[in-house]
Amino acid sequence: MSGIQQRLVYALVIVNVCVHFGDLPTWIPTIGVLFVCWRWAADLVRIPCPGRLGAAIFAAFCGAGIWAEFGRIIGDPASTALLVTMIALKALEIRGYRDLMIVTYMCLLLLMSKLLASQSIAMMIFMFMDLVAVLALMHLYHIPNVERGLPWKRALRLVGQAAPVLLVLFVLFPRFNFSLIRRGPDTSGAVGFSGQLRPGAVAQLAQSDKVAFRAFFKGHFVPPMSRLYWRGAVLSQNKGLEWDPAVNSFAAVRPGAENTYPAGGGTPVEIIVEDGGASWVFTMDWPAGVQMNSLLRQSDIHESEGLTYALRTPLQPWETYRFYFEPSSQKLSWPLTEVSGSLSVAAPSARVAEQIKEWRKLAKSDAAPEILDVLRMHFSGQGFSYTLTPPETEDLDEFLFTTKRGYCEHYAGATATILRLMGIPARVIVGYQGGSPSLIGDYLIVSQRDAHAWVEYWHKDRLAWIRVDPTSWVAEERLNLGGQAYIEKQGAAGYGGFEAAWLKKVFGDQFLVWLSRSRLLADQAEIAWITFMLRYDFTYQRELFAKFGWRRISAFSLFMLALSGVIVSLLAVAWVMWRRRRPPGDRALRLYQELCQRLAQSGLERQYTEGPLDLAFRAAARWPEHAERLQAVFNQLINVRYGTAPFGEREWALIRRDISRLKFDKP
């Protein structure tokens, strides 16, 4: 065991531990890297390094720490954390060939748990590089001269030779999906809705340019920007300018709501969640049903207040679901408790009460549309402004009369409160509005920039909830452009932590255009890959085979096909390897070896130091009846190998015939 092998395996472990930064609490990969670095340092200079016992104590501490962090050991993030620390600890006490091998291939487990979190193109590239590195290292332990460096080429060739098997298995192996393993809640500070409405919260969210989800309309008509309202949660508990969801919102599940397959059709929209971590299922007005990508997950859906949906356990990264929507609400019937519950409101200040009386007078009617007209006039004419960086206000009074600046949640919260104060049932909806089309326009990218809040009020004549968006009164552009484009236009957008103005100054005006173009291009490629990876399941395989005329292929048939495919590709590779094994040419030598083989089988073995002439003499003495022919054959062979006389196909045929005529009797 030499130093270079150990150093390479330390590097391999460090890389595979480091990829888990971001997925796990920072202390876990950090401690893993520290363990390996400790060992590395101990190899270089004389510092104490823990043995088996020390490693066991550390392992116990790490297990306890992980238990304290997650409250369990089994389950995705906890198991990954455990793996990270245990493999790092194993690297700490590498002793010989056996430990080196184990640590090397156990790194693949770390890779596997990383793949559970992400299957992006970049991650696939990393996977193949990691696999090649692992194989190259395992190779390295079995070649004597390690000084030549890592045998990358051999490892690459091995992966290349394995490619047919990989391809066959990928296409044919039946894709079971039990959905048993699911990532727990994301602990890495996921960006998303908290399910409450605090003034400033949506504005805060809109600072991030992270993608929330992508929506695929699959050739159906995409509603215009001004109607792209993605409903997340209904907030019906009023506390001044703050809003909360109903306390018992999950209790408000309608009987049978789990089976939310569409009853009456509607336009399907497929959503691919980016980061996960949140429980909200976003839909559009009015949802006719939500369909998760597995039956097990389907039972997790809850319908809560106001036809919104949430999951019992948070969404995983890249989880997909599909909803169906119908713009008309004709078929819907709303529970009356929902309506009557949407009237309670915190007591207003004197100034607000005064203002409401004034608005009542102006409206000349109790009907909502008239009141909203008055409110629109007020907000658009009294110097209210729309800003991403609103002053900190939690008081309705202060917002209406003093600051007059706010983001969508201020306007939505204020409007809904005012409506309730005037006796109209109203509630706040949080979600997203808008979305930017992808490069070729087949899907919409909804980012945190599109975070939005708006109002629904009860129209007592139409017996329906009607959407009204107070933001349109102060910043109509926001709704027409969508959040992303609006913020970019305002020049307030940042790109991955860099300010737009700074980027413009450094790289020139065209840079931002180029940047967003290339982002869209990357997004398109990434999504094409991810959707393929997500969709390639058993149903997809069946459809694929149906195209070739094999309808309803069973998992067993697929499995057998995969098996035979593997065998065929293995045989093919083996055949190529076998063909390339023997050096070309030297037919004389091969014929000579064949002849020796036949002589040996008849009891006359060639001695190690014996040349062809000596062998010929011995053979002639042994089988006098063949003496002449043996002499001729051996002479021919010697001539063709060492002589200069031309030797054509005819001579080859003759010599081969002569050899075949030699029949030796066995001793």
């Binding site: 065991m1 010989g96 060939y97 056996r98 091998m101 184990i102 291939y105 156990m106 693949l108 487990l109 890779l111 596997m112 793949l115 559970l116 299957q119 696939m124 996977m127 193949f128 696999l131 395992m138 190779h139 332990y141 079995h142 070649i143 004597p144 051999r154 091995l158 030779q161 394995a162 047919p164 098997v165 990989l166 298995l169 990928f170 894709r175 079971f176 999906n177 039990f178 959905s179 048993l180 699911r182 990508n293 990876m533 390639y536 399941d537 593997v566 293995l570 590779v573 083996a574 390897m577 076998w578 390339r580 094994r581 023997r582 050096p583 083989q597 040996a600 073995e605 060639r606 190690y608």
Partner: protein, 326 residues
């Protein structure tokens, strides 16, 4: 004797302990992929499985494309190394790596999967008994001596030789078992304290305890043709450079020229002790140019000198039966 794996010998292949572990890892990958519906993990599992199978093929071909020939059988003294010399040749276009060879003692059958848990197998493959530690280049041939130690003198059948390799990944072990028909001799342990005092022919008398003759005080007498097996100590290299024939220098010496190693004179030591003493004397004499003859009960080896003569004497000692002494 030519052993050509490709046509005559059977190759066996089984996973090593690490091979079973990686297979388990593969199963985990597929189970996790199925449990999470994650195609990336499926890809990892399939790629690893493909590599696993290809690694198996690579291990197989590494041993398969190898020709073996038994070059020499080396006798040895008891407690010292005997063995065989095998020519490994690689008639293929790719280099061959990490071929190990060891004698299989006894007929114990240890299945591969049990082997994984046995402590011996945990040793690094490079520490195998005898191994081809350097890679064998295409069309290259190399001689490897594979050793064997026996504690008792006698004539032995060569045990079966196992030639194996775990190259390239250490996940599979491919091996073949060679059965030889040859025998080899284990000479009696060379030890003893007696002084060789039996001299008959030649002039003068004296004691001889072996070792090199002191040539400084002797006079050159004649040239003699060099015989294979003779010590090269007295080769006249200058004459060789002149004429191209190897000649050894003979000296007038006072040392005895001929020894008779007689069993009866030392039989009081006991059979094995006496054989050991003879063994030591012959070993010392055969490196010199002195002639000697050996007399055992029922066996007499005529006078002769040199390596081959010594070998035939030693072989008689190895074969010697106690009943013959009685």
């Amino acid at each position: 004797m030519g052993i050509n794996f490709q046509r005559t010998e059977r190759l066996y292949i089984l996973p090593t302990g690490h091979g079973y572990a990686v297979l388990g890892l593969n199963v985990i990958f597929i189970l996790v992929a199925a449990a999470s519906g994650n195609n990336a993990v499926y890809i990892l599992g399939f790629a690893m499985f493909g590599v696993y199978l290809l690694g198996m093929l690579a291990t197989h071909f590494n041993v398969r494309a190898l020709d073996l020939e038994l070059v020499d059988v080396n006798d040895g003294f008891a407690g010292e190394a005997a063995g065989v010399t095998i020519a490994f040749s690689n008639p293929s276009r790719k280099p061959r790596h990490l071929i190990g060879a060891r004698f299989r003692q006894g007929n114990r059958f240890r299945p591969g999967f049990l082997r994984a848990w046995l402590p011996k197998a945990a040793a690094a493959p490079l520490q195998a008994v005898e191994a081809l530690k350097q890679e064998l280049a295409p069309n290259a041939r190399t001689l490897v001596r594979i050793e064997l130690v026996k504690d008792d003198r006698g004539v032995y059948q060569l045990p079966r030789l196992e030639v194996s390799s775990v190259y390239p990944l250490g996940l599979f072990r491919c091996w073949t078992v060679l059965q030889f028909t040859s025998t080899f001799f284990i000479y009696p342990r060379r030890q003893g304290a007696l002084v060789m005092a039996t001299q008959e022919a030649g002039k003068g008398s004296g004691d001889f305890r072996g070792g090199q003759q002191d040539t400084q005080h002797e006079d050159f007498r004649e040239h003699k043709r060099y015989e294979t097996g003779e010590s090269q100590h007295h080769v006249d290299w200058k004459a060789f450079a002149r004429s191209g024939t190897m000649l050894t220098k003979r000296y007038e010496t006072s040392a005895p020229r001929h020894f008779i190693l007689d069993w009866n004179k030392i039989s009081h030591l006991g059979t094995e002790q006496a054989l050991s003493q003879l063994s030591l004397w012959i070993e010392e004499l055969r490196g010199t140019d002195m002639s000697f003859e050996m007399r055992l009960p029922g066996v007499a080896v005529q006078a002769g000198r040199g390596w081959n003569h010594g070998q035939s004497c030693l072989r008689e000692l190895a074969k010697f039966k106690v009943s013959e002494a009685a």
